[in-house]
């Protein structure tokens, strides 16, 4: 039983890190309608940014500044945000499908840069020996994992409440107005380009932060961590959970990543080894099935977006409802 609990702590760390990434995507797609298909690129920039700042000094590498983890984490997030700014300035005037293709290309480009810029990223071999923050203060590694889980949950919690506050603010209403109808938003005197850029940069920085947390947890980073399939996984989590709702986004991570890993466990249990290579495809089928079923049965995701736009309006509606005598 203890083993299962220890594993669950490990599982939840990854879930929380992915949840942060999905919340970043939710801000971009769920609230603002920006189709970012290069999620993994910003995650990679955050991860490498952190790794370069905290990593040990090596003769063959440009990086290795041995900075404290918090500095590395912030640096990674800022680097990802800056990348979001550059990418956003270049692409945000594109409409949805064009933006998707452009960002998809950018995501792959970033991965290829990581693969080829040996002096900065260590190339295909990656960056090794990255310090895990405060690891030596714990006698047992599983106690460390528990502490790390608490840390990432706190960070995810702060991001969650900040985003919830932001999307319910007037700024959040503009995001949704832009998502629904750019022309209408512009006619009201709003500047959609600027607002979209803000959402894109903020979302990218949040994805970068998730990358930094992954590096701190694993202590290693290499280009194979940033294959395009991760972008697909993050999108699947958001769609299954319910885009436009942060609680949905988090639930989606739990469900999708849970199925992704648990199916591996059960396949390992029931299928004899000779057939496991075929059984591996079952996982891909399962995940596809979950997405299709969600789209069919719950087109808005497990927890869809809430109807009400402002809490103020909701309160008024409730009061009006109370005043009305029961029919």
């Amino acid at each position: 039983m203890l083993g299962l609990a220890v594993y669950l702590v490990f599982f939840l760390i990854v879930v929380t890190i992915y949840a942060i990434m999905v919340m970043g995507l939710n801000l971009q797609w769920g609230f603002t309608g920006l189709f970012n298909a290069g999620v993994v690129g910003f995650y990679a920039i955050g991860a490498y940014g952190t790794a370069i700042l905290i990593g040990p000094d090596r003769a063959a590498l440009i990086g290795g500044f041995e900075m404290p983890f918090v500095v590395g984490l912030l640096g990674g997030a800022i680097a990802a945000g800056a990348a979001g700014l550059v990418v956003g300035l270049a692409t945000l005037r594109l409409r949805e499908e064009y933006l998707a293709i452009a960002t998809f290309g950018i995501g792959i480009t970033i991965q290829l840069v990581a693969l080829n810029f040996d002096a900065l990223t260590g190339g295909a071999n990656g960056l090794i020996g990255l310090p895990r923050p405060y690891f030596d203060r714990f006698a047992v590694s599983n106690a460390y994992n528990l502490a790390y889980l608490v840390g990432v949950i706190l960070i995810a919690g702060v991001i969650y409440f900040a985003l919830e506050r932001a999307v319910q603010s007037p700024w959040g209403r503009i995001l949704r107005a832009i998502r629904e109808d750019v022309t209408a938003a512009r006619s009201l005197g709003k500047n959609p380009t600027l607002i979209r850029l803000q959402a894109f940069v903020l979302g990218s920085a949040i994805m970068g932060l998730a990358g930094g947390l992954y590096v701190g947890f694993i202590g290693f980073v290499s280009p194979i961590d940033f294959l395009p399939i991760l972008t697909f996984q993050i999108w699947a989590m958001l769609i299954v959970g319910g885009s436009g709702n942060n609680r949905g986004a988090i639930l989606g991570v739990l469900v999708v990543w849970g199925i992704w890993t648990a199916s591996g466990y059960f396949i390992g249990q029931i299928v004899p080894p000779g057939y496991q290579s075929q059984a591996g495809s079952i996982q891909a089928i399962l995940i596809g099935l979950v997405i299709v079923m969600t789209l069919l049965l719950r087109p808005r995701g497990l927890i869809g977006e809430e109807e009400s736009v402002s809490s103020h309006a909701r309160k008024q509606a409730q009061q009006a409802y109370k005043k009305k005598p029961a029919p």
Binding site: N142, L227, Y265, G268
Partner: protein, 428 residues
């Protein structure tokens, strides 16, 4: 009704799987009532799926041999193979669940260095679990071990590419090539091989005119080839896999590149020779890991042939068997299933000084007898003698291959471990 049918559809394979699990130990002649799980990670799906399945089965073969030879510590060894899907996050999760839920003290694998490394740093080393890889060749593992980042829990049965690069440089010297261009696949394998070769060339006083990486599965490599030809090299070292390698080499030849070719181990394939044309390859020379001949290699090859009806051809099969065999024998010798105890026993059962035991049921039976008598064994595996250095690396023998006019692959020369060690000693 629909729901019922769905339930049935889910239940049927579950029940069938359950029956198989019950039936398997019952079929064994001397079923033991306890089980020791041995963990393994391989890419059964994803980009390495083509080789991952057979590698997984090679591990199973070693476990079967051990069980047939009398089990492991009086129990049945059970193989817990998990798919990493070619994705580090999936591999790390699978490794953690193997360790915590299934209670494994040994993880065999993974295949790609980019997955093996995070498993090592975030699961194996912190939890004190021995990790033995069949296939990860990146030099960063050696670097990490030197820095003390592995606590000795890391081993690999695949010879590292550094000596291979140096031997290749020696071959270039033998042939009086003084200006060599290098085109290499941009992966941890290609990069390390190219770097080791350049290091070896420098020691010998030659010159590398260009180091050009290429990305896999492109339609053309004209840009890379043009760049490699720029400084007028007299020879080419090509580190590639067959399909891309043939594309690049055809372009090299059509642009007037010299036929003084040095080829990496993965190009020792008839599909490569056919795609390029044998007449262009008669002056080419290649290097590959040699299966040293001998009873231990024959024993493995024979038992593979017996089980699968074909000879063991493909990367990682011999090394995976040895990884599993080393883990099993070290566990048996340690007398307890514990990562630290197994780690400390690995060099005891492979180093010289004990009685030699070979792969296969007979070999493991003999190992049981010797260990029971309190004496030492020296496991000589499917890849020949294994000797782990302080970083968990092994050095292997190599063979030099060429192509004759008919397009057949020929063996030109062999480099045994002693000859490689002398060369590497000179390089230091």
């Amino acid at each position: 009704m629909k729901l019922k049918r769905m339930k049935l559809a889910i239940a049927a394979p579950l029940v069938a799987g359950g029956l198989m699990m019950v039936a398997a130990p019952a079929m064994a002649q001397d079923a033991r009532d306890c089980q020791i799980p041995i963990g393994a990670l391989a890419s059964l799906s994803g980009s390495m799926a083509a080789i991952g399945g057979a590698i997984g089965e090679s591990g199973q073969l070693a476990i079967d041999h051990m069980n047939a030879a009398g089990g492991l510590l009086g129990c049945d060894a059970v193989y817990r193979l998990r798919d990493d899907q070619g994705q580090p996050s999936v591999g790390v999760d699978a490794a953690k669940s193997l360790v915590e839920i299934e209670g494994v003290e040994v993880i065999l694998g993974a295949i790609q260095s980019g997955i093996t490394m995070p498993v090592l740093t975030s699961v194996s080393v912190p939890e004190g679990v021995v990790q033995i890889s069949c296939c990860s060749s990146a030099p960063s593992f050696t670097e990490l071990a030197v820095e003390g980042g592995t606590n000795g829990f890391w081993f690999r049965t695949l010879p590292t590419v550094r000596p291979q690069g140096h031997v290749m440089a020696a071959l270039a010297r033998e042939r009086n090539y003084v200006r060599t261009a290098v085109i290499y696949v941009n992966s941890d394998y290609g990069l390390s091989m190219a770097n080791a070769f350049a290091e070896g060339i420098k020691v010998g006083g030659g010159e590398v005119t260009a180091m050009i990486p290429y990305n896999q599965e492109q339609a053309s490599y004209r840009a890379e080839v043009t760049q490699a030809l720029r400084d007028d090299p007299d020879s080419l070292f090509l580190v590639a896999f067959p399909a891309d390698g043939a594309t690049a080499l055809r372009e090299w030849l059509s642009l007037g590149g010299p036929q003084n070719l040095l080829l990496s181990n993965a190009l020792r394939a008839s599909e490569f020779v056919d795609a390029v044309g044998a007449k262009f390859l008669t002056t080419a020379v290649g290097l590959d890991n040699a299966q040293v001949a001998g009873p231990s290699v024959d024993a493995f090859n024979a038992s593979w042939q017996e089980k699968f009806g074909e000879p063991p051809a493909g990367p990682g099969l011999h090394t995976m068997y040895d990884a599993a065999a080393v883990a099993l024998l070290a566990t048996q010798a340690a007398g307890t299933y514990d990562g630290t105890a197994i780690r400390d026993m690995v060099r005891q059962i492979t180093g010289p000084g004990g009685e030699v035991v070979n792969p296969g049921v007979e070999g493991f039976k003999r190992a049981h007898e010797i260990l029971a008598a309190g004496a030492r064994i020296t496991y000589v595996g499917a890849t020949g003698p294994i000797s782990f250095d302080e970083n968990g690396d092994v050095t292997g023998p190599y063979l030099v291959w060429g192509v004759d006019e008919s397009g057949a692959l020929t063996e030109l020369d062999t480099w045994d471990i002693d000859r490689v060690n002398v060369l590497m000693g000179d390089a230091e």
